[in-house]
Amino acid sequence: MIVQKPRVLVLTGDGINCEIETAQAFRMARFDTDIRHLNDLIHEGVRLDDLSKNYAVLALPGGFSFGDDLTSGKVLALKLVHRLGWDLSTFAARGGLVIGICNGFQALIRMGIFGSDVSITHNHHGKFLNTWVKVTPTGGRCVWLKGLGTVDLPIRHGEGRIMIASGRRAEAFDKMERLGVTCLRYEGNPNGSEDRLAGLCDVTGRIFGLMPHPEAFVRWTSHPEWTSQSARASAPGQGLAVFENAFLEANAK
């Protein structure tokens, strides 16, 4: 009997640039993957129903879609909403999983997936920053983070500072906490993000976005300290667990 593996749709085009390593991470977690250009999906008229039927996971990889012009992720979000018209909440409600990494996360925020009171902007120090951080899951809502402890991951962004609408900050934040939306936090704060937030999920826990790059730590030899622990040179990296969680979830269905 041939068991079909769950499939992941990895978006590319318009300046997205992490599609290959993102697809590779999903493959290491035993998924089948398709890397598809946004324009092809638009051209073929792929609808939400087609997406739900064919794919267990939708991945929005990192990159510089539209050159980060008019703020990061903005025009990609407009294109997803206006040209593809996919309602990601419905996709999730039907059992689909969505991940947005870095620029993909910024686009999810601009699409309003995490509510209209949250946004993301320039790091408080005003610079692009490539460094490694420790992040810890909080709240337990996000299915992508199940069972994860503190993990090391790289960040590589100029606009990773999560912001909550200043006029309604307290109630908006409380609501997000209550719903489990605030699902991943930094140790320390590399970009001035609200309450050290590194990632958010929707109320179902199935749509997940984060600034750090889990796909960039799927083998231990990516870690900046790996040469001090050379016995682990063949070990998988800590980011792989995120993709493996998705596999467990997709198969549990």
Binding site: G15, D40, F66, D69, T131, R156, M163, P224
Partner: protein, 1066 residues
């Protein structure tokens, strides 16, 4: 309708862009910064879109406004978008100082300058409005709103010029407070006026290829003809200079003779051509430019060496050199036949086999002249330009890493600047941003680089940009390096459009920079357009939709089509078919413009349909310009009328050979090399060493050439593509408050997901030694580049070991200056000597020969030439990335070794730059010992990484010498070390000297004894210096009896802060 949109960060939120500008003001002009009390940075957009108000207003909100973060002002279109008045007054009222004194500086691009945000804005409106907007226009700009005391028009004008704008590409207006409060800038007529328009030369008409009458004005597009026959020598020279052709008299005469030969006249008559047209002259000038033809490297040179007066290493250099390129570059590689060399020196990049399936390619370019005028645009186009070399290499490769090396004057340069030169801090900031945007936005990791400081880079900064690529060795059943074009293949231009930007780039870079350097030489890059084109082309490659590819770099279409025409034997294009940014471009401008993001491909006619369909789907613009022929000529038409017909043989082979004289006078004071005779430690010299050592070490750690570059490195994405193995920095306690990073010697990436094979990339550059002898300088650059890749785990010394070198010469003009030419000769022979000694073939290279500035400072003439600078880039295979290494000491108790001959001298050292009056001991220079080097390097890089794995860390001894190198290995973990120097070695030379083949290594206690025995047996020199200690001090002792003598004792924390040099960089 027209609209002006102003977007501000909400007043209660931190405005990071404004803070960034304030910081730049503080660095450039601290007194001015103190006058500024408050600042906000607004994005400004001007649009002209033919839709109704009702459609436009909601779309504007959706496209431009984030209500959580921003306020938006649109005049009266969306009055409710901000606070009370919906205008700037709302912001100003919330400034902390009231009643304040407010000013604005508004900047916008000059007409025709690439405006990426404007382009994206239109795309966003198309997405939201759900329709194409072919007639719409959009532009982006910025408004710097500030409040402060004692400000006036003049101060703000200076601020605009010095910090806020680059006047080559932007214009600015100072707006006083009452102007800010008025709303007239939102009026339709005013916006219409503010939108940048390009005014072409003479004929401004919009025409499309489909319109029936292309020439409302029939004279437009007709080329100018140039009668050369009747011109005197000086008139020929004048003409070349006036037209910026950079052709010498000899070359002008060769052109004249060619066009007046009866044979050529006969051929041209049939085409309706007589004297050469401006298009033809421009194509010849581009093709024959130093930039494209490397005339100096091909010149015949007579060289006269110096009598050997006391210098102990005088090399053998012939007195008649039949082209430096042939004798010392390609000739050297020919003597090193390696099974893994696939294509060297005849493509856009060198191609080498990585394994049975894949090949890698490597190219390093310089972009010095454009970066001197506009550092941001120059560096950005430098990096995306060299990316295109890789895309256009062989059948087309995927860029997988970038490298960059900048040579600039120190950022704290405080003397008056010559006219038109930018302050080094501005240069550094601009090139940093350029590479950041070019590399990060393209999704290519920046894995290696260097910064070199010297006052002589004030006249021309050197900006080296390198890219490595990967491609399958077989593509479409063809070997990856094969470039083939068939007669009848269509010629397509892919990617960007043509504008006036970058006209005369190739010939301009072949001239010295002076006050009248042309503005059109400046280009801005558009990484998104290039990324789209690159993705499309790699997809088209794998589908077999094109047959051959090359990039449009220097010389534009004249070079790309002109060179590809050699593959079929001719080409015929009509340049009116090329997509342009605006109308009104003359035929010659279309041919030689260096507008960015363009590739040229040969598409077989039967593949055209699929090629066009894919391009359309990928939103990539392509233009069908014509076809490849076998007529032996490069024919260019404009709307069907022939404007150029050039004999290909003449075009590519007709340039007269240059003859140069070169001379070498002995180095400053009869340089002696260190050799094996040690200078004795006298009691006095030890006392003064002891007294000064701590200050010297701290001083060296904070030399700009040595100090931490973490501030720069972390602004580059060095990990995208998921291949990172060894990063530019090693880090201890990553992600925690005690996280600290130290330097690595080179980068390692893992290019293939299912193989543990790695690629190491490192560089060597040591211009200081040029002042002593460029021969040693070049040897040193090669040795350093090789040592750097060895440090991170490169293989070496086996038959199959892959180690390739790339050379990049940046020289002061050697034409007509025998001394400078002599330096060049010596550097080339030094390079050859080192490459042969280490059996490392050169696979690619580039030279930039006009790195001089002539201008005025305070009304006085001044000329500045860069020191002769050779960048060597080494790319080597790492057999198994699990055995890659970093420079940091890993464990307390590990032994620290000085590995290698350690014949280190003070001449050409950082120490001597710091203490130029030093006279305690004689000054000597380190020279190579290639036999020892081969034994040592083969041990380090041999036997498939098994022996390599015993070394727990390896770091090369370079700038600053041994103690600086040891300190760099300690910084990250913060542990201490105690070193004991052997008394028979001179303490000054051993501590601060620099030289060849020497490393700092560490071994575990268990491995130490066995490895030492191996080294002794193999004749590899080493000194066991000491141990990594659990304390936090760096101690240096001199071995003695009855007890050791302490020479230096410093807390690691002090070394760390000296090395960080916080507040100096940005």
């Amino acid at each position: 309708m027209f609209a002006r949109i102003e977007v501000a960060v909400r007043p209660d939120l931190l405005d990071s862009p404004a803070q960034g500008i304030l910081r730049r003001i503080e660095l450039a002009n601290p007194a001015l910064r103190r006058k500024l009390r408050w600042a906000r940075m607004l994005d400004i957009y001007w649009i002209d879109i033919l839709v109704t108000r009702e459609e436009l207003i909601p779309a504007m909100g959706e496209v431009c406004w984030d209500p959580v973060l921003q306020w938006m002002f649109t005049g009266n279109l969306m009055p409710s978008a901000a606070g009370k008045t919906g205008g700037l007054q709302d912001l100003m009222q919330l400034a902390p100082f009231r009643p304040g004194s407010f000013w604005g500086i508004e900047r916008r691009f000059r007409p025709g300058v690439t405006d990426n945000r404007g382009r994206t804005l239109l795309e966003a409106f198309e997405i939201v409005l759900g329709k194409k907007l072919p007639q719409a226009r959009a532009a982006s700009g910025g408004l710097f709103l500030l409040e402060g005391t004692e400000l006036d028009d003049e101060i703000l004008a200076n601020l605009a010029r010095e910090v806020f704008c680059n006047e080559l590409i932007e214009t600015w207006t100072v707006v006083p407070e009452d102007g800010l409060k008025k709303n007239d800038r939102f009026h339709q007529e005013r916006i219409k006026y503010d939108l940048p328009k390009v005014l072409g030369g003479g004929a401004i008409r919009s025409f499309s290829p489909s319109s029936s009458s292309l020439f409302p004005d029939s004279s437009f597009g007709r080329p100018e003809t140039l009668v050369l026959d009747s011109l005197s020598d000086s008139q020929l020279e004048d003409l070349s200079q006036r037209k910026l052709w950079a052709l010498s008299l000899l070359e002008m005469k060769a052109v004249r003779d060619h066009f007046s030969s009866p044979e050529e006249k006969g051929k041209r008559q049939g085409l309706g051509l007589t004297d050469p047209t401006d298009v033809e002259m421009e194509v010849i000038a581009q093709t024959w430019s130093e930039h494209c033809k490397h005339k100096i490297f091909n010149a015949k040179i007579s060289y006269r060496g110096a009598k050997n007066n006391g210098n102990s290493y005088e090399p053998a250099i012939p007195s008649e050199i039949n082209g430096l390129f042939k004798s010392t570059i390609s000739g050297t590689t020919a003597e090193l036949p390696k099974p893994w060399l696939i294509s060297v020196f005849d493509d856009n990049a060198g191609i080498c086999a990585l394994d049975e399936e894949d090949a890698f390619c490597i190219k390093v370019e310089t972009h010095n002249s454009p970066s001197a005028l506009d550092p941001y645009g120059g560096a950005l186009t430098g990096i995306v330009g060299v990316n295109r070399d890789i895309l256009g290499c062989g059948y087309g490769a995927k860029p997988i890493f970038n490298t960059n090396v900048f040579c600039v004057a120190p950022p704290d340069y405080s003397q008056d600047l010559p006219d038109r030169l930018l302050h080094p801090r501005r240069i550094l900031d601009g090139v940093r941003r350029g590479v950041e945007h070019g590399g990060n936005q393209s999704g290519i990791p920046t894995v290696n680089g260097a910064l070199v400081f010297d006052n002589r880079y004030l006249g021309k900064p050197l900006v080296y940009c390198g890219t490595g690529g990967l491609m399958p060795r077989k593509i479409q059943n063809e070997r990856c390096e094969v470039k083939k074009v068939d007669v009848g293949d269509r010629i397509y231009m892919v990617g960007g459009r043509i504008g006036k930007d970058g006209i005369h780039g190739a010939t301009f870079s072949s001239l010295a920079l002076d006050e009248s350097s042309p503005l059109s030489a400046v280009q801005l890059g558009d990484p998104l357009t290039q990324k789209r084109a690159a993705d499309f082309l790699l997809e088209a490659r794998d589908l077999g939709l094109y047959r051959a590819i090359t990039d449009n770099g220097a010389g534009g279409l004249s070079s790309s089509v002109g060179e590809m025409a050699l593959l079929s034997g001719g080409a015929s294009i009509d340049v009116i078919l090329a997509k342009t940014k605006y109308s009104g471009l003359k035929p010659f401008e279309l041919v030689i413009s260096e507008s960015q993001e363009r590739m040229t491909v040969a598409v077989p006619p039967e593949k055209q349909h699929d090629f066009l369909a894919l391009a359309e789907r990928r939103a990539v613009e392509v233009s069908d310009l014509g076809e490849f022929t076998n007529t032996g000529r490069f024919e260019i038409a404009y709307a069907g009328q022939i404007v150029a017909s050039l004999d290909l043989q003449f075009l590519h082979g007709g340039v007269p050979r240059l003859e140069l004289k070169a001379e070498w006078k002995s180095p400053p004071a009869g340089v002696t090399s260190v050799g094996s005779v040690a200078i004795e430690n006298t009691p006095e010299s030890l006392r003064s060493f002891e007294l000064l050592a701590a200050d010297i070490l701290l001083g060296l750690m904070s030399r700009p050439n040595i100090a931490s570059k973490e501030w720069l490195i972390r602004q580059y994405d060095h990990e995208v593509q998921g291949m990172s193995v060894v990063k530019p920095l090693h880090t201890a306690f990553a992600g925690t408050p005690s996280s600290w990073s130290g330097p690595n010697d080179a980068g390692v990436v893992k290019p293939k997901p299912f193989s543990d094979i790695g690629l190491a990339v490192g560089c060597g550059i040591n211009p200081k030694l040029s002042d002593i002898d460029p021969f040693i300088m070049a040897q040193s650059a090669v040795d350093e580049a090789v040592r750097n890749v060895l440090c991170v785990g490169a293989e070496f010394g086996q038959r199959e070991s892959v180690l390739a070198l790339v050379d990049n010469f940046c020289w002061p003009d050697p034409v007509g200056d025998p001394l400078k030419c002599g330096w060049l000769v010596r550097a080339c022979y030094g390079l050859r000597d080192a490459a042969l000694a280490l059996s490392a073939p050169l696979v690619s290279g580039k030279d930039s020969m006009k790195n001089d500035f002539r201008g005025k400072r305070n009304g006085q003439p001044i000329s500045i030439s860069v020191p002769p600078t050779l960048l060597m880039t080494a790319v080597a295979r790492v057999a198994d990335i699990k055995f890659a290494r970093t420079a940091d000491f890993k464990t307390v108790g590990d032994w620290i070794y000085l590995l290698g001959p350690s014949e280190l001298g003070l001449l050409g050292s950082e120490f001597l730059d710091l203490h130029s009056d030093f006279s305690e001991i004689p000054l000597r220079v380190g020279t190579p010992l290639w036999n020892v080097a081969r034994r040592l390097y083969s041990w380090i890089g041999g036997t498939q990484g098994k022996q390599q794995n015993k070394l727990k860390s390896l770091h090369d001894v370079s700038d600053g010498g041994v103690l600086v190198a040891v300190a760099e290995c300690l910084l990250a973990r913060g542990w201490g070390a105690t070193l004991t120097l052997p008394p028979e070695r001179n303490a000054w030379e051993l501590a601060w000297g620099e030289g060849f083949h020497t490393f700092i290594a560490s071994l575990s206690d268990e491995e130490g004894v066995g490895v030492e025995a191996e080294w002794r047996e193999l004749g590899i020199p080493f000194i066991r210096l000491g141990k990594v200690e659990p304390h936090d001090r760096f101690e240096v002792l001199l071995e003695g009896s009855p007890s050791d003598r302490s020479l230096l004792r410093l807390p690691i924390q002090k070394l760390r802060s000296a090395w960080l040099k916080e507040g100096y960089w940005e």
